[in-house]
């Protein structure tokens, strides 16, 4: 009886000591996952998610306050990558909104260069006093240029669906 109690006490205090040391030694400042999620986001700091920059969104996602699918420019790819990384299951939340891109109405553009200095991904090309154009391939639809444009020449349009981008819808659930 005594032996059993002593040995149990010894084992538990030993293990407790190990755990205590491990907690001190291996202590991590902040959550490493925030950095990892941050690296997966497009890093345009566009603010479409409603958080201040990609860092804010990463923090919210890791804390579970935001869904991995909160990033419109990232779309399904980013959502899936983050969900896989964090081991979260994505909710099948119906139709995702169509991606948007900026487009410049040439008639009103005055060539002020404000938009392309703002664009985080260098998607707008042009130079002073000249027409600017948007490269759809590089545009995240972050909307920052629209706010900067003094003449309101920039608006966001949906990327049209084509035969090349159309995906067969998933069959309806079996009742």
């Amino acid at each position: 009886m005594l032996t059993a109690m002593v040995s149990l006490a010894a084992i538990s205090s030993g293990l407790g000591l190990v755990l205590g040391i491990a907690a001190k030694k291996l202590h991590v400042e902040g959550d490493a996952r925030v950095e990892e999620v941050m690296a997966m986001l497009p890093a345009a700091n566009c603010g479409q998610c409603g958080f201040p920059g990609c860092a804010g969104a990463a923090q919210a996602i890791v804390a579970g306050e935001a869904s991995p699918s909160c990033c419109p420019p990232g779309g399904k790819v980013v959502a899936q990558t983050i969900a896989d990384h964090l081991g979260i299951k994505l909710d099948d939340g119906g139709e995702a909104p169509r991606p948007m891109v900026a487009t410049i109405q040439e008639a009103i553009c005055i060539g002020c260069t404000k938009c392309f200095r703002t664009c985080p991904s260098d998607a707008i090309i042009g130079s002073t006093k000249q027409l600017h154009t948007v490269m759809d391939e590089a545009c995240t639809g972050c909307n920052q240029c629209t706010e900067k444009c003094p003449t309101g020449a920039i608006c966001m349009i949906e990327v049209p669906e084509t035969l090349g981008t159309w995906v067969m819808p998933k069959p309806a659930m079996v009742s």
């Binding site: 067969m168 819808p169 069959p171 009742s175």
Partner: protein, 355 residues
């Protein structure tokens, strides 16, 4: 026509309810022979099982808020009830069948989510729960063609709905049960096997459940399903090999201690198990390798339980145990065309090399 139509734009004519219908058709000859042997009581007990299963299925679907009629029409509840009736003593009291149906449909099937989602064979869940709960009622077998007592429809009603068990004068032991009892008493096997007359077992003139008396008609029904391509040959053959090979070897080595091959295959639920129970789509593996392993396992476990287990018959337990392994066996996928078993692309063998 605005909706998206994915290929194929043609379908084979067979539907789920047609498949179930053909299985029921295949069971019919053996069932009718059973009715002829055991009289109206057997018919009434069968009807109780089938109707109770349909009743519980409808009840569960209703509770789950699903549409009842289209699902009920798939015929799976009828089949479960039918198989349940075929695996039980034909003169058991009505409440045994009713409880069995409740266990089979509610615990065996609907709690998992209904057709296609259950892990265990519903009829075997029902039967096994009854067997361990009501061992007396579940082992009272009646002699076939019991002309010893008058037995018309009104007697049958009394028997099923009022009597609690078979009158002593009419009871009889099933072969496997008798052998087990004799062996446990230390009597030589040959005494136990006195009851065993192979031709009787084959055509069904002996005590037992509806589904075990006539091995011939069960086999015929099973072969009909094979011919109709409802079931494959892998599971029946695997089952019989798994049961037959150890039986053959053991009997060959020690004829006094082990039941011979013919008695194993022709008695108990072996034929019903091989062609109708183990082949249940939902609870058996989908790919060939898994099906072989599953069937051999069912057969081998049946032999082990019959030989050393506490119960004389082991088909139900064996199938349930292997059912539990089905998800595991399903991971044994077929080889993909152009790939090795490990999934690597095959090396390119040049065509001219085989000219």
């Amino acid at each position: 026509m605005s909706q998206v139509h994915a290929s194929p734009h043609a379908l084979s004519s067979r539907t789920t309810s047609q498949i179930m219908g053909l299985v029921l058709l295949a069971l019919t000859p053996a069932t009718l022979a059973g009715f002829w042997q055991f009289g109206w009581s057997a018919f009434l007990f069968w009807a109780v099982c089938v109707l109770s299963c349909v009743f519980f299925e409808a009840l569960c679907l209703n509770w789950a808020g699903k549409r009842v009629m289209p699902v009920l029409w798939d015929g799976s509840a009828v089949l479960t009830g039918w198989l349940l009736a075929m695996s039980m003593p034909p003169w058991a009291p009505w409440w045994v069948g009713f409880l069995g149906a409740a266990c089979a449909i509610v615990l065996g099937k609907q709690v998992f989510g209904g057709l296609g989602c259950n892990l265990f064979n519903p009829a075997m869940v029902g039967r096994t729960l009854l067997l361990v709960s009501f061992p007396v009622q579940m082992t009272q077998w009646v002699s076939p063609l019991s002309a010893t007592l008058p037995h018309d429809f009104s007697h049958a009603l009394t028997q099923i709905f009022l009597n609690n068990g078979v009158p002593d004068a009419m009871t009889s032991a099933s072969l496997l049960g008798h052998v087990k009892t004799e062996l446990s008493r230390g009597a030589p096997l040959i005494d136990g096997l006195k009851l065993f007359v192979p031709w009787q077992s084959f055509v069904g003139a002996r005590a037992g459940s509806l589904g075990e008396t006539s091995a011939l008609l069960i086999l015929a029904g099973g072969l009909f399903l094979v011919a109709k391509r409802i079931i494959g040959l892998r599971i029946p053959i695997g089952f019989m090999l798994g049961l037959g090979l150890p039986a053959l070897i053991a009997h060959g080595l020690a004829p006094d201690a082990f039941i011979p091959l013919s008695a194993h295959l022709l008695s108990g639920g072996a034929m019903l198990g091989a062609f109708f129970i183990a082949t249940d789509y939902v609870t058996s593996p989908s790919a060939p390798a898994g099906q072989w392993a599953f069937a051999l396992g069912c057969g081998l476990l049946t032999w082990l339980i019959r030989t050393w287990g506490g119960y004389p018959e082991g088909v139900g337990f064996a199938v349930l145990i292997m059912n539990a392994l089905t998800p595991l066996l399903d991971m044994w996928r077929p080889r993909i065309f152009g790939r090795s078993l490990t999934g690597k692309s095959l090396p390119a063998r040049r065509v001219e090399s085989v000219r």
